[in-house]
């Protein structure tokens, strides 16, 4: 028990929580935007992979880091366009299209990796984003250095969450997005284009997912390797439910999951870790997340038109 308290009191633990949560926040906001507009985007896992790969290969080719972020976002948006075209105007099954996009994006990334780097055994490294201490805030005693000495992409993740919340709740665009996810006929009867709004949401949301993936290669680790996204996309889908489709609660969910993750890594190094098999620790964040999901999501209100294609003029 004292081990756990020691871990929770260490500044490095909290710095790790913020860092681990960052990619999840990007991708969760992306998924949340899609789902609020009524489209379940199961392409998230693959879009994160293509984001991680595109960001990394762009920087490896000699471009600046921010250029890599932009390229990742562009790649994500392209796959988002594919997903949106198939699910919105064509109204195909969102499950099948989403899983298809995940498979396609993942294998495209791996294929391109082998095409570009046929000979290498260990992936080459790039120089990732450096930590950037916010003047003033990072000098606050206690958690100041931990929370405010992060890479720029981490700050960007929290800014994106804030902007998402403001757009959703404070602008006509957000109002329209929430309406098309709840009752598309209501939006259509007010002269809004359900197709355009939903496609836009899926494309922008996919772009954010890809930036979440790019965080892994450009901020967290310094190279790209297979299986590095490792189910984070699926976690984000659960986080959207956990957050009851609200950006603020979803960020809290991402932080909670990150805390479990950071805790299990540290617990492995304590005396308990010497006794229990390490796989148990690896499974812990997922088990705790399922538990939290059960407790939190019972009263959540799902967007009523989620996964329902909309056909104008259908009788």
């Amino acid at each position: 028990m004292t081990d756990v308290i020691d871990i929770l009191l260490s500044a490095t633990f909290w710095a790790a929580v913020i860092r681990i949560a960052s990619p999840l926040i990007f991708a969760t906001m992306g998924e949340l935007i899609c789902e609020r507009a009524g489209v379940l985007n199961l392409g998230i896992e693959g879009i994160m992979v293509i984001g991680a790969f595109t960001g990394w290969i762009t920087v490896y080719a000699g471009m600046p880091l921010w250029f890599g972020v932009g390229a990742a976002m562009g790649a994500g948006m392209l796959f988002g366009l594919l997903h949106a075209t198939l699910t919105v105007p064509f109204g195909l099954s969102q499950h099948v299209v989403g899983l298809g996009v995940t498979l396609l994006a993942t294998s495209t990334s791996y294929f391109a990796y082998r095409l570009i780097l046929p000979e290498v055994t260990s992936p080459p490294k790039i120089t990732p984003f450096a930590e950037w201490a916010i003047p003033g805030l990072s000098d606050i005693p206690g958690l100041g250095p931990a929370l405010f000495t992060q890479t720029p992409l981490t700050y960007a993740a929290f800014v994106v969450a804030g902007v998402t919340a403001i757009i959703l709740y404070r602008t006509p665009l957000g109002l329209a997005l929430r309406a098309v996810g709840e009752n598309p006929s209501a939006a259509a009867s007010q002269g809004l284009s359900v197709t355009a709004l939903r496609m836009g949401a899926v494309i922008v949301g996919s772009g954010l997912m890809a930036v979440g993936g790019a965080f892994l290669t450009l901020s967290a680790f310094s190279s790209f390797f297979f299986e590095m996204v490792n189910g984070r996309g699926w976690i984000c889908i659960a986080l959207v439910v956990f957050g009851a489709w609200k950006p603020g609660k979803a960020v809290l969910g991402a932080l909670l999951f990150a805390a479990f993750d950071a805790l299990q890594v540290r617990l492995q190094q304590t005396p308990i870790g010497a006794v229990l098999p390490y796989q148990l620790f690896l499974a812990m964040p997922f088990l705790l997340s399922i538990l939290a999901l059960i407790l939190m999501s019972r009263r959540a209100e799902v967007p009523a038109a989620l996964m329902q294609p909309f056909n104008k003029g259908e009788r």
């Binding site: 602008t171 006509p172 009752n183 002269g191």
Partner: protein
């Protein structure tokens, strides 16, 4: 319905100031082989209420959807306030001052009243919503038009009547000068309907023009200046309301005189099924039953009036065996059946005409034959020793098709191809042929046209005369009053005392439907 709600407002209605505000010129629309609108022309004058009448499928809603830009007409044109309206563009219709209140509300439940009204009124790229100013304007409009609603409430928490007011406010907020109301009274209590008519009279007094789509003729007579009747996509008649009556309009709608079914006095027998102090749990916002006691007697139609969502579903599920009560007892004759199952209910001879014939009454992609034996496929003669006997099933279906005059390609056709009336006739045949003792008729004529309604009602009355106990559940008060020997009102899960038909006026019933006028705890008249 002659009182003028606006009091001192000048009456602009007949022959005073009435430039044409809307003109539809030879609108034609086809859906595949179906000619939904056949060269329909109509003119609406300022300050006028016109009623668009017609059976289901006569083309009323199609015509209004063309006007509002949801559909594009194959031929013809629309002129609003002297300017041609571009086809297929709801935004242009809104901009031209046309507001539509749809039969199925187009509101998003997760948004507030203000947010729903604001939806689409601002450019998507404008930075803020400015909810405060909008709420003020909505409050002013609610005052002017008598549309009481809380702008900050979530639409999901509102009653049906309140939602309709939001729909009207939505149109008024966009400065609509022409209001189109599609079957606006279908789901309202008589009081809510009267309040709606007050609002409409105020709107007309303020210079708006109204198209009122309905099939409830007495309402039409009360509110419209002029009636236009559609039949099979054609405009078959246009009369001033003052120069016609309900029977003439009904004949025009159907194309022939139809005699309404006559209900002779009942000779009630013993109680076939009794509910004693039965309660069911609340389902979210929908109340469960609260200690209701009800006997269904042989040879009697018991009508259950009330706005949907007041416990009708729970009672219907109990009688169908789909749910069991949390307390209280149900007995069939002297046998307790409190914890029975749907299968047991079927075996006990309960004929179930479910509320939603598409969702729970039939399986759309099954054939008529499969649907006809859906409740009894496991019994002889339809199956023996685990093997289906399709010949017996087809014979039964052919018999049902013949006796109930079901228009269909044949017993092997998929049931989704049938019209609502024919689908309902199959359900009727399925449950009535075995000669049931107890019949649950939940909204048996909803959405049907007059011919099918008359047929279903005649069959129910015949079953009553043969000794069946019938529970008739309907939101349509007129239907309950016409068809019931004994009437109860269900409000917030509580059952009113029973009274014979003709004993209470629709207005008194309306008060009961709103939960006033009878003692809630004891179910005794106050």
């Amino acid at each position: 319905m002659t009182s003028d709600a606006s009091g001192a407002q000048p009456d602009l209605r007949p022959d005073v100031l009435h430039p044409d505000v809307l003109h539809l010129d030879r609108i034609t629309k086809r859906f595949g082989p179906l000619l939904a609108n056949d060269a329909i022309s109509l003119t609406l004058k300022q300050g006028e209420v016109i009623a668009l009448l017609g059976e289901n499928g006569a083309g009323k809603t199609t015509l209004m959807n063309i006007l509002f830009g949801h559909y594009t007409a194959d031929a013809g044109s629309v002129t609003a306030f002297g300017k041609p309206l571009p086809p297929g563009n709801p935004r242009a219709a809104l901009a031209a001052g046309i507001g539509m209140v749809h039969q199925h509300f187009t509101l998003a439940d997760n948004l507030t009243v203000t947010e729903n009204i604001l939806l689409g009124t601002r450019s998507l790229w404008s930075p803020g919503l400015n909810l405060g100013a909008a709420a003020d304007r909505i409050a002013a409009l609610s005052r002017d038009f008598g549309l009481a609603v809380n702008p900050a409430a979530r639409v999901g928490a509102l009653s049906v009547g309140e939602r309709q007011r939001v729909e009207i406010l939505k149109a008024l907020y966009r400065d609509a000068r022409i209001l189109i109301l599609d079957e606006p009274t279908a789901v309202l209590t008589p009081q809510e309907t009267e309040a709606l008519f007050q609002t409409l009279r105020r709107a007309v007094a303020l210079g708006l023009s109204i198209v009122f789509i309905s099939h409830k003729l007495h309402e039409v007579m009360g509110v419209a200046d002029r009636c236009l009747v559609l039949r099979h996509g054609k405009l078959v008649g246009e009369v001033a309301t003052a120069n016609t009556d309900r029977h003439a309009l009904a004949a025009m709608m159907v194309g022939a005189e139809i005699a309404p079914p006559a209900l002779s006095p009942a000779t009630p027998g013993p109680a076939l099924i009794r509910f004693a102090n039965v309660s069911t749990p609340d389902q979210g916002a929908v109340p469960g039953l609260k200690r209701i006691t009800l006997d269904l007697r042989a040879g009697q139609i018991t009508g259950l009036a009330g706005v949907s969502g007041n416990g009708q579903g729970a009672l219907s599920d109990l009688l169908s065996g789909l749910a069991v009560p949390s307390s209280g007892e149900i007995s069939l004759g002297s046998t307790p059946v409190t914890n029975w199952s749907p299968r047991a209910a079927i075996h006990a001879g309960i004929a179930r005409i479910p509320e939603d014939r598409h969702k729970t009454g039939t399986i759309a992609d099954f054939s008529l034959t499969e649907n006809a034996i859906l409740e009894r496929y496991g019994e002889a003669p339809y199956s023996r020793k685990g093997w289906m006997n399709w010949r017996a099933a087809r014979d039964f279906t052919t018999h049902v098709i013949a006796t109930h005059d079901i228009r269909c390609p044949g017993p092997e056709a998929r049931i989704r191809l049938l019209s609502g009336g024919n689908m309902q006739k199959l359900i009727l045949g399925r449950v009535l042929e075995p000669g049931p003792k107890i019949i649950l008729a939940n909204q048996p004529v909803r959405g049907l046209d007059i011919g099918a309604i008359t047929y279903v009602q005649k069959r129910l009355i015949a079953a009553r005369d043969a000794g069946a106990a019938i529970l008739l559940i309907s939101e349509d008060l007129d239907e309950i009053i016409e068809m019931s020997d004994l009437i109860h009102v269900l409000s917030a899960g509580r059952l009113s005392p029973a009274f014979a038909r003709g004993e209470k006026t629709p207005a008194e019933l309306g008060l009961w439907m709103a939960g006033q006028g009878f003692d809630m705890e004891t179910s005794r008249a106050a």
